[in-house]
């Protein structure tokens, strides 16, 4: 499975350590709440809301270099809009990988 990385953030920061810390801290701050909300909507079978949550999470997934996971997230988002949560397990694995990686930063 692909691993999260700092390639995009490093390129964007262009040596600006202030920006790099800022963006990492924002992601660290926002991600747990976004995951909680997503889990709640999935548990409630509120798939339209869950699709919105996945949409938001997708940007963070892409920023942290998970390109293939981002494609899966898009598919999952579209499925959820149609009321289909089939890719839930695979998407949850991505979230877990992301959360673990953020702990190392």
């Amino acid at each position: 499975m692909e691993q999260p990385n700092m390639k995009y953030i490093n390129a964007l920061s262009n040596g600006d350590l202030g920006f790099k810390n800022k963006i990492i801290n924002i992601i660290k701050l926002e991600l747990p709440d976004e995951i909680l909300l997503y889990n709640k909507n999935i548990a409630d079978k509120n798939y339209k809301k869950a699709a919105e949550n996945v949409h938001k999470l997708k940007h963070k997934i892409s920023i942290l270099g998970l390109e293939k996971s981002c494609v899966l997230a898009t598919e999952f988002e579209n499925n959820l809009k149609d009321g289909n949560p089939q890719l839930e397990h695979r998407f949850n694995t991505i979230l877990q990988t992301l959360a673990e990686y953020l702990k190392t930063l």
Binding site: Y8, A11, L12, N14, K22, E30, K48, E52, T74
Partner: protein, 238 residues
């Protein structure tokens, strides 16, 4: 070039701000987490040359926002969706469509397009929605298998929310599984007007009107350019 950023996601706003900071000609003057706040700002500040606009925002999309602008500045869409590209280019003010995550190289290309694009103000035809009038004074709505009577005159705002509409009255708000089109047909056209694809207002309840929004009670409601002429026509203007 003065820019504003509209995106409901903090991470995205920070990224776009950083991308702008690497280009000397761009000056980010303000950031907004939603389009309504941006509308209020633009009503008081004309000096915005460029808007970085997210499409996918809850309740009020980027396209809804563009509809409210009378003379839109240049707009660059920033989105994680690739599905809206065709719709995007129906608007003359949209210069480019950036898919997140946005790289510096792609961003610079978009700014280059801005430099090469002359300012064009959008022309749209004025359209008036057809409505059926009713002489009824009450409206019955179905909530949890109960038919609840509402005094039509007490309704001040109806808002579309996905498959539901939110009917706001002087006393209470009701969420009903219906569409704006259906309720519009039940309301007297002397009193109600669709000012935006997601909003019908009671024109008697207007407190004030700014360029592209109206204040009704505590709600700021956007007014589409195409609906504005009809609104102005219906007011008793001095």
């Amino acid at each position: 070039m003065n820019c504003i950023i509209i995106d409901d996601e903090t991470t995205a706003r920070v990224v776009i701000n950083q991308l702008c900071s690497n280009i000397a000609m761009l000056n980010v003057v303000e950031e907004f987490p939603n389009a309504i706040k941006a509308i209020k700002y633009l009503n008081q500040n004309n000096a915005v040359d460029l808007i970085f606009l997210d499409i996918h925002m809850p309740e009020f999309t980027g396209f809804d926002f563009i509809q409210t602008l009378k003379n839109p500045p240049k707009i660059i869409l920033t989105t994680s969706d690739t599905n809206f590209a065709i719709e995007a280019f129906e608007y003359d003010c949209i210069v480019d469509y950036l898919v997140k995550p946005i790289t510096q190289a792609r961003f610079e290309k978009a700014i280059q397009k801005i430099k090469n694009t002359p300012i064009t103000k959008q022309q749209t035809e004025s359209t008036t929605d057809k409505t059926e009038t009713t002489s009824e004074k009450e409206l019955y709505i179905n909530i949890d298998r109960r038919l609840i009577k509402i005094d039509i005159a007490s309704i001040y705002l109806i808002e579309a929310k996905g498959d539901y509409i939110n009917v706001k009255t002087e006393h209470k708000n009701y969420t009903v599984h219906s569409t704006l089109k259906k309720i519009e047909e039940k309301l007297p056209e002397t009193l109600f007007l669709k000012v935006h694809r997601s909003y019908i207002i009671n024109i008697k309840k207007i407190i004030d009107i700014e360029d592209n929004s109206v204040l009704i009670k505590k709600d700021v409601v956007p007014v589409s350019r195409s609906n504005r002429p009809e609104l102005m026509k219906r007011l008793n203007l001095l």
